[in-house]
């Protein structure tokens, strides 16, 4: 498919309205991501890097409105519970990593994806795998008797097949962001069967991220996904259960690109050094992800305090021992104080090591 056949994009500088919404383009000078936001959101934190602030900026995008949208499904109460549960997993956490602060900073965002329709015309060849069953057995010898246990095992017979294909595929999902794969791993993907036609009133106050993978850049991925869909159907047509070495020489006709919007909530917190870290919540499923850093600084403080208490208890314990000849019960007290001092000493070590160990797993 020649590049000239791909849909065109336009530079949008400033508009009163786009896609039926009173939004305008804005970008983050730090991460260079571009959004369509309400005018009131200009100057607020960038939902991508959560460090820079959004400034008015021209955007390169398609003027046609998106075709489909996955609506936000998670209520505020559910979000509170999700965040509470998420932060509870971090024992010594920064003060900023608390559910209420995260909830107050929540930003609804719609990530872009592409939906590609197209006619695949071409020739294919592959090795198709057909299941068949073989009988095997296990022989058990016990108390002078043989017992046979028969087992049926399923194996795959691979056979070559070839053929032609003229099939149309609709709404094949294609990433609209370079970071699509990484972000989907964090939020766990979306159920594509719960998709609605785009309606401007469904956007609410969400910011719309502008695709940084335009159709010309996303075409290889679109082609691969169309080929994958064709491969699945060729397997089905051949009556096979498995396929390998699928090879398709195809041309793609009547390719149509539309946009799909994926709902996420983004919030953030600051770590010990004041650096902001984003947390993502899938707006459809509630899956939450992002780095949860523990507070090493708090760990040191806890360690210092508990070490001081430990030394004090230890010294008091020794003094109690020293006073034992005068008052015998002080010996018992001395043992208790020394043990408590040792316990506090161990706690101080844990308070230092745990944040370090936890953060290693997060980075």
């Amino acid at each position: 498919m020649p590049i000239s056949d791909l849909p065109t994009t336009s530079i949008v500088d400033s508009l009163e309205e786009i896609w039926g919404l009173p939004y305008q383009p804005a970008g983050c000078p730090q991460c260079k991501q571009v959004y369509l936001v309400e005018a009131s959101r200009i100057g607020s934190i960038c939902p991508n890097c959560v460090r820079g602030k959004l400034e008015p900026q021209p955007a390169l995008l398609r003027l046609e409105p998106p075709e489909r949208l996955i609506p936000f499904k998670i209520s505020r109460e559910e979000l509170r519970a999700i965040l509470k549960n998420y932060t509870a997993g971090v024992w010594i956490r920064p003060d900023d990593l608390n559910p209420e602060a995260l909830l107050n900073r929540l930003m609804p965002v719609l990530w872009p994806g592409w939906l590609v329709d197209g006619l695949v015309v071409g020739y294919w060849s592959a090795e198709m795998g057909y299941d068949y069953q073989v009988k095997s057995s296990e022989e058990i010898y016990r108390t002078g008797q043989w017992q046979t246990k028969e087992m049926v095992e399923t194996r795959i017979r691979w056979e070559t097949r070839a053929g032609q294909i003229v099939r149309r595929y609709d709404n094949i999902g294609v990433p609209g962001m370079e970071e699509h794969q990484r972000l989907m791993e964090i939020v766990g993907g979306f159920h594509m069967d719960q998709i609605d036609p785009y309606q401007p009133n469904q956007i609410g106050q969400a910011s719309l991220r502008v695709p940084d993978l335009p159709p010309e850049s996303a075409w290889p991925a679109a082609k691969a996904n169309l080929d994958r869909a064709a491969g699945e159907e060729c397997t089905q047509a051949a009556g096979a259960q498995h396929v390998r070495n699928f090879n398709l020489r195809a041309e793609y006709d009547s390719v149509n690109w539309t946009q799909l919007l994926l709902p996420v909530y983004i919030t953030y917190y600051a770590d010990d050094q004041g650096q902001a870290h984003p947390i993502y919540i899938n707006g459809q499923t509630g899956v939450i992800g992002g780095k949860r850093l523990a507070s090493q600084r708090k760990g040191w403080i806890w360690a210092g305090a508990s070490l001081a208490i430990a030394i004090l208890l230890f010294v008091l314990g020794l003094l109690s021992f020293a006073a034992t000849p005068a008052l015998a019960p002080l010996g018992v007290l001395g043992v208790l104080l020394v043990l408590l001092g040792l316990g506090m000493g161990v706690f101080s070590i844990v308070a230092v090591i745990w944040p370090w160990h936890w953060n290693r797993g997060q980075l």
Binding site: V121, G122, E138, T160, Q164, Q236, A237, G239
Partner: protein, 433 residues
């Protein structure tokens, strides 16, 4: 079948591919043409020179006409143990159980037009009216269940006769007049059905194993220290692996399995792809022991071999509470034909069977036994012990030196008895079939 679209006009399916049904509109499917099964057509053998009947000639190693001397070689390359093997698919097991030749029990002779009744399970027939040799007279229930490989006859009939006569004269416990009066002459060669089985067996065993230990103890009767052997029992376990390769199991109930066992081994390195030419003019039998039944026999042999391997793995002769679990994997089979000459002879109004391995010339068969020789031999074996015992008894009663001779007599009786039993078994086996 082909799709119509301007961009598909130049496409051609790969060579030797054929269209197969597609389950989706808009997609065509082509598959390689299936390998043509071995020709299931009945083949008549006639000499192209003189029109007489031709047959496979062992000496010539090809199809020959005994009237005009016409000969033609057979294009068949030995594949040996590399011959294709098949898995135990549920489909094949079901097909195998259907048996052979159910669908055809009458045959129209291609040569003279006579209608022949086929013997059950026969793969070949010679027309009694025109003497033409016909092969592939019964269809297989499925392609994998036709004989794919065989070992051709390599021993000529004259050698077979000589070997059989020589075999008749062997052995002292047979009637002396056997080789002189009995004639084994009417041998007929037949390809017998066999199954070969391979499997990899991994077996875990567990048993109480006894370890001998010398122990000193005080005998209060003798008031001395003595040494005795005691056995310490310990639970032990282990694992063995056994690679069973080309285990042969007969596929026919029509011949004695005892005699077939004695014909072994066959050299399977000489396995050759099935070619009906090898069967021209020779009898050939299809299996009547189906694959599942034969595999049950094969498996029971393999599991006993695995059990023996487990016992070999135990470094003690004292074993109790033995148990094992054998996992079979990579089980495969072949259906082959092996060459055997069959004959019978009459001696003193009794019929005895003889078989000769058509590949190696090994002879096996039933032979009459001169029982008077056996009883005489047994008496001779037992007499020394009995006599010595009888002689030593009075000495023992007299309180003399009788104990030692009596002990010797007992030992001699034991040895004589053991040899007698072995001799009796050997002679009864000689008559058995």
């Amino acid at each position: 079948m082909a799709l119509t679209h301007p961009r598909l006009s130049t496409w051609q399916p790969p060579p030797e591919y054929q269209p197969v049904p597609s389950l989706l509109e808009g997609i065509t499917v082509f598959a390689p043409q299936p390998v043509k099964p071995t020709d299931d057509q009945i083949i008549s053998y006639k000499c192209p020179q003189c029109g007489a009947t031709t047959r496979f000639d062992v000496a010539a190693g090809g199809v020959a006409c005994e009237y005009c001397g016409y000969q033609v070689g057979i294009e068949a390359k030995q594949v040996g143990r590399r011959a294709q093997e098949f898995e135990f698919t549920l489909e094949t097991l079901e097909d195998s159980a259907q048996g052979w030749g159910i669908s055809r029990n009458e045959l129209h002779c291609n040569s003279c037009g006579a209608n022949l009744t086929l013997p059950e399970g026969a793969l070949t027939i010679s027309c009694p009216f025109c003497a033409s040799n016909q092969v592939n007279v019964h269809p297989a229930p499925s392609d994998v269940l036709r004989p794919r490989f065989l070992v051709p006859f390599t021993v000529v009939i004259e050698t077979v006769r000589l070997k059989a006569q020589e075999w008749l004269g062997k052995g002292w416990f047979h009637p002396p007049e056997l080789s002189a009066s009995a004639v084994v002459d009417r041998f007929h060669g037949i390809y017998l059905p066999y199954w070969t089985f391979d499997a990899y067996i991994s077996a875990d065993w567990k048993a109480q194993v006894g370890h001998e230990r010398q122990e000193r103890y005080y005998d209060s009767g003798d008031k001395t220290w003595k040494t005795r052997t005691v056995i310490d029992w310990r639970w032990e376990d282990g694992r063995i692996a056994l690679d069973a390769d080309d285990l042969l199991v007969p596929g026919s109930t029509r011949v004695s399995h005892i005699l077939l066992e004695r014909l072994l081994p066959f050299k399977l390195d000489e396995l050759t792809p099935y070619n009906p030419d090898f069967l021209a003019g020779w009898e050939a039998q299809a299996y009547d022991i189906d694959l599942p039944s034969a595999w049950e026999s094969g498996k029971s042999i393999m599991r006993e071999q695995a059990k023996q391997s487990c016992y070999d793995d135990i470094h003690s002769s004292h074993v109790r509470n033995f148990s094992m679990k054998a996992d079979f994997s990579n089980e495969v089979w072949r259906y082959i034909l092996l060459p055997v000459y069959l004959a019978s002879y009459r001696f003193e109004d009794k019929i005895f069977q003889v078989m000769v391995n058509g590949q190696t010339g090994t002879v096996a068969g039933q032979k009459p036994v001169a029982w008077w020789k056996i009883w005489l031999a047994i008496a001779a074996l037992l007499t020394p012990g009995l006599l010595l015992g009888l002689v030593s008894l009075p000495f023992l009663l007299a309180g003399g030196i009788g104990a030692l001779p009596l002990f010797l007599a007992f030992i001699l009786l034991l040895i004589g008895g053991g040899i007698s039993v072995a001799l009796y078994k050997q002679t009864t086996a000689s008559e058995a079939a």
